[in-house]
Amino acid sequence: MSQRITIDPITRIEGHLRIDLEVEGGKISKAYSSGTMWRGIEVILQGRDPRDAWVFTQRICGVCTTVHAIASVRSVESALGLEIPLNAQLIRNIIIAAHAQHDHIVHFYHLSALDWVDVVAALKADVNATAALAAKISNWPGNSVPALTAVKEKLASFVKAGQLGPFTNGYWGHPAMKLSPEVNLLAVAHYLQALEIQRKANQVVAILGSKTPNIQNLAVGGVANAINLDNPATLNMERLYQVKVLLEEIQAFITQCYLVDVAAVAGFYPDWFKYGAGVTNYLCVPDMPTDAKMSKFDLPGGIITSGAKGVEAITDWKKTQPFVGKVTEGVARSYYEGKEARHPWQGETKPSFKPEEINWKPETAPPEKYTWVKAPRLDGKPMQVGPLAQVLVGFLTGHELTVKYVTAAIKAVKAIHNIDVTPAMLHSTLGRHAARAIRCAMMGELSLKHWGLLAANIGKGDTAIFVDPMIGLKAGTVYEGVGLHEAPRGTLSHWCVIESDGKGMKLKNYQAVVPSTWNAGPRDEKDQAGPYEACLVGNPIADPKLPLEALRTIHSFDPCLACAIHTHDADGNELGQVKVGV
């Protein structure tokens, strides 16, 4: 007989991601993913000036502010057929890269590493052995004996005082924890250093974006960063160099710590290269344009279809490319009206459900409609998006930068553990972590490249940053646009339909198809499971009361559904719940 488990961190007033599992013989046999809060951005935007949309969309999500701002301006620019100045593309690209690095580093060290790292066990580490292990593969100054001794002492004093602080949510001593004390210590040390690096990445975004977390420098038509190399109030030489120094420091951490730590952790958990593949159709779109015409991109796009050979390339953002026409969103199992899957330009967001479906009890079978998340499909197929899709598309098409860091990661595992990792093993829970570190290093390298392109272009005397989107508006015209962005969690697309009377513009429709919709979406009208649902099947569950294994696989996607309620719970209830029923 199977056992049902519900993992539901529900209590921040409105709910977030909920996972329901059926476990049979110590393994997950079925999984359901549901988003328990609905996001009405489409409704909020109808009737507004499309030039204001990005200010609203960047508030959809507290973590992914920048990405929704970028996708939104790109969407309106796509509708109007605007080509923005090269400086504007490059400034946006550097912000995109710094944001991605920040996001990936925070995810690994502060939110998911604790699934694999036993913080308390780090107290048993031999500091000299830890430093020697690290020196084999990295010359990071934070790995010195004095630095590691200081971290160990600090940890000891926290444990002694009974204050495990941020680590109280760990599964310490769980039988699925397998790192050596030395690797645990290294991870704790880098966890602390990552907080500092996170601040540096934020500074880059703040310098170029005028502010964080919500940037202010964007505009439909370009950016608002006035460029004058000699003017202290504008983007000048001093600020440009400040950005470069920060980007170099961040990249040093990524290549010498993040990439290496993922390799060090992965080698202790070789089983996790076998679990968590799920949906093996993959999608990513090109990003980091290097010219004003948006004809060349530093990051490749493509579609991988399970069972088919090779990669169908996506080489641009034009409406004729293979992604744009084939996207649909289904609502058969979601709390919305309608039966047919619709293209986003024809998309609707009209809630519809039975009361018992919304209040679906934990540990019971799912009702017909069980989530607020729609089910996006490409050509009718579920797709996995995110760093793994990005890295697989790059690797299989021989994209030089991707191959470089995949090779570096494989070499690091070999050097530490003498284990041979093959690219085929990347279709897994650990593969997603490895791919994220690889993508992060690629973004670091590209951030510096695009800094160089920007400095060179400004050096040529080009200071253009903006084109006026109002020029050339035609009365009685309906414009359709799609803004594509390959965000940290994967392919993000904002779709807009604009009406113009020749003088002004108004949004008629707006739909955001976000990465976590692709990954966390439910079953569709053909009963095809979404990636979260599929990837959990077959995962072991050693202790149903502590389903650490399920969290490991879900965390490997860097879930970002909870957009974005943040209410302090004054009653001090437990904020997360795991319910187990038989």
Binding site: G40, H110, G576
Partner: protein, 177 residues
């Protein structure tokens, strides 16, 4: 570099969750603060809150709160110990870490502000839409005053702006024109 920060937390697209950003914008429109005090509409920064608090002498957070025993619009001020005194958490996403977890991360790193205050306003409805409930709206003047008093308690004197500035509550602008 700011010595003290006042940061409003919340999602302006989600009903009463907009309380934090609304209150700090109204506060800044009505009162001028000294140069070493920063007033920030922080949105929903999750763990990035740690980055905002590093090295400060004091942090004042303004946020919508949920309180079983409270009524919508009620204002409660907490100190650091009051914020930290809570049960364990199973984090699922980047959004999960809130104020308490951010303080704990900062404590472990040794950069936590000695003083942290939370000016909490009990939320009514948190549902999508750019509109506060009447109870939340009625609480705004009291919440702005609670921020002023909290700063005074931390030794910060503010001066009244005359005339007040536009608070810039862009999300409340009408949708169909």
């Amino acid at each position: 570099m700011a010595r003290i920060s006042v940061i409003g937390i919340g999602n302006v697209l989600e009903g009463d969750d907009a309380l934090g950003p609304t209150v700090v914008r109204l506060f800044e429109a009505a009162w001028a603060v000294p140069e070493d005090v920063a007033v920030i509409d922080g949105g929903t920064p999750g763990l990035d809150l740690t980055a905002y608090m590093a090295g400060l002498e004091a942090l004042v957070v303004v946020d919508a709160i949920k309180a079983r025993t409270g009524v919508p619009g009620e204002i409660r001020v907490y100190d650091k110990a009051g914020i930290l005194n809570r049960g364990p958490i199973v984090a699922m996403s980047q959004h999960e870490p809130g104020l308490r977890e951010s303080i704990l991360h900062a404590e472990f790193q040794g950069v936590s502000p000695p003083e942290v205050r939370l000016v909490g306003i009990v939320a009514g409805s948190i549902d999508f839409g750019c509109r506060l409930t009447p109870e939340a709206r009625a609480a705004l003047p009291g919440a702005v005053e609670a921020v002023r008093r909290t700063l005074a308690d931390l030794g910060v004197a503010v001066t009244k702006r005359d005339p007040p500035r536009d608070p810039g509550l862009w999300w409340e602008r009408p949708q169909f024109t």
